[in-house]
Amino acid sequence: MSRSESSDGGRRDATGREADLRYALHLLKGNRLVLVGLFLSAATILLVLLSHLLVDPNLANQQPLALRLCWNNPIINWNIANVKTCPSQLPLGTDAYGRNLLQMIILAIPIDMQIAFEVVASAIVIGVVFGGLAGYAGGFVDEVILRITDVFLAIPGILLAIVLIVVLGRSLPTLTLAILITWWPYYVRLMRSQILSEKEKPYVERLRAMGAGGPRILYLHIVRNAIYPILVQATLDVGSVILTVSALTFIGLTPNPLLPELGNLASQGIANIFTAPWLILFPGLTILLISLGFNLLGDGIRDVFDPKLRR
């Protein structure tokens, strides 16, 4: 009776997911920018994992002042007067405390990335829980949650973060918290809008007819279908959070002036921009590359891995 279906099913089973993967790779190949993004973010994550093996974290607290603001790189020559030459080769020179700038950047990447991941992950959780609730329950609950996000969105993000850091005291956790507080409303709204369209789908009606309860339908079924745009947004936001963190520390909201953090390292460079331009250039370039990488990767994930945009 089901002869034809059987052979059909067999064929699809053998090649269905493989073909899917191959198609994804094909899309990836056609898109050079995604490959660049993939490479940059993979390199970033690799550095995060290896940084403490590559560089001793204690080096951040040492201040060999005799070596401050010197440069010795055979490839790059600055035609600026008064550039001190370091006694030994230092590829990216030293900073105002005499620390090896390359080492400091390697130590800084995990600190920035940790904040970025914490902010984005918490924002996803908050977005899924409250955005899901707002979208699925609707009515009064929806109204209350949306008005709360309005309150947070009404205040300029950086300003709110500055106030919070000043009030709560300067430390890495308060920095994270301050950025999170300006960040979560977007995720709640994005999740809510996704839920609104997803909850009208027929499979939701079927689940209801099968006696499934609200939380099960929402968090086990709808959210799993609605999460893709949030994941794309999260990848894009890793770069944006790093930009925000460095902006805040650049203007002086750092817990500790010796903290190797990209914005903090760059901020030392302002005072010495004419005598030691590497000090602002290389941390700045690192920020640029990391956020560029995650932005390109986010775009790529959107194009390649969202099955609903493809079919």
Binding site: M1, S2, E5, S6, D8, G9, G10, R12, D13, G16, R17, K201, P202, Y203, E205, R206, L207, R208, A209, M210, G211, A212, G213, R216, L220, H221, R224, N225, P307, K308, R311
Partner: protein, 373 residues
């Protein structure tokens, strides 16, 4: 007639439902009367918009937000469904009644595997299913269909669990999977173990409809509402699915309310057929009786309008004059009277009741009320 007997799985009396829309109040159901006996297949036929699906949705309490139940009662297995608490309704949907929808393409969650969607139905309320699962597995072992090693120790282990009334979580999940496989087997899906790991997009339309039927069977419901289940399938697959339904009803003890606009499907599968028109049940009869000896003018018109290829001398199929009434302003009296070839002066004034014209043959038409004492 008025009392609900133990033999009735479903009894709908005078159900009236309306929808609030911008254009006005749509009086979708106007006193629907329907009784289903245990184990029968009742066809609910009628044209689009006559209230077939609304009737089904009110049985499971899934009417859309803008619907309003104006009155009547729906007894499901002797229990009143209208006004049931949310929790009771969920339990009823989980254990008593299942609904199979029209379009198999969109009624499965696209991102979850078939297996997880089936086992979820079981593991959602473990307290309702533990005993069923253990007994099912013990039955399998008893039948000797499975010849793998270690069956004896498994049997004694399961019997112990049955006595304690408590099954480990891991064991529960394993049995749930075993059960899902046998349910997929029962809907004649080839290679059920493989299908469990597949995702909906990897299945064809007919296979998906089988999966949906399997899902409705998982809980061994007493009543299945099959809402236009063959409409979205192509004709050869339709035949397979109908064949499956017919086989299933011989295997398991279940009543089926088969909603369709296809009279051929109804003739093929049903024991009795109820004809609906504009929110009313106008005629209910045994399937042969209805097709041989239709009484209501609408049923006569409906049967006459079916094109036939087998009778060369048959006249051109006759369409019923006029069109379906606007249910915001339904006709007074009998809702069919503006289109009825046999209407007389009383028809616009009196709403006909469903009466027994011949034994077992109910009709709602004033012609027969006049005749019967």
């Amino acid at each position: 007639m008025q009392k609900s007997s133990a033999e009735e799985i479903l009894k709908i009396t005078n159900l009236r439902v309306s929808f609030n829309t911008y254009a006005g109040q749509v009086k979708a159901l106007d006193g629907v009367e329907l009784t289903m006996r245990k184990g029968e297949v009742l066809g609910l036929v009628g044209e689009s918009g006559c209230g077939k699906s609304v009737t089904a949705l009110s049985i499971v309490g899934l009417l859309p937000q803008n619907a309003k139940i104006l009155g009547g009662s729906v007894l499901l297995n002797g229990k009143e469904v209208l006004g049931m608490s949310k929790k009771d309704l969920e339990t009823a949907r989980l254990t008593e009644v299942a609904i199979i929808f029209q379009d198999p393409m969109t009624f499965l969650n696209p991102v979850l595997s078939i297996g997880s969607q089936i086992t979820e139905i079981i593991s959602a309320r473990p307290e309702l299913f533990t005993e069923k699962l253990v007994k099912h597995r013990l039955g399998q072992i008893g039948e000797g269909t499975d010849v793998s090693a270690g069956l004896d120790s498994e049997r004694s282990h399961l019997e112990g669990a049955l006595k304690r009334g408590n099954l480990g979580k891991k064991e529960f999940n394993r049995l749930a999977k075993v059960y899902a496989v046998s349910v997929l087997e029962s809907v004649r899906l080839p290679e059920p173990v493989k299908v469990l790991k597949m995702f909906p997009f990897e299945l064809s339309g007919g296979m998906r409809q089988r999966v949906l039927i399997a899902m409705s069977l998982v809980r061994r419901p007493k009543l299945i509402l099959a809402d236009e289940i063959t409409t979205a399938l192509d004709v050869t697959v339709q035949a397979q699915v109908l064949q499956l339904l017919r086989a299933l009803r011989q295997e398991i003890d279940v009543s089926v309310l088969l909603i369709t606009h296809d009279l051929a499907v109804a003739a093929e599968l049903c024991d009795r057929v109820a004809v609906m028109y504009a929110g009313n049940v106008v005629e209910v009869a045994d399937v042969r009786e209805l097709f041989r000896n239709p009484l209501h003018p609408y049923t006569i018109g409906l049967l006459a309008s079916v094109p036939r290829v087998d009778v060369s001398s048959a006249p051109q199929e006759a369409a019923i004059k006029g069109s379906v009434p606007d249910l915001i302003y339904p006709p007074s009296g009998c809702r069919f009277h503006p289109r009825c070839p046999r209407a007389f002066e009383k028809c616009p004034q009196v709403k006909p009741q469903l009466i027994e014209a011949n034994p077992g043959h109910l009709v709602s038409c004033l012609l027969f009320e006049e005749r019967s004492p």
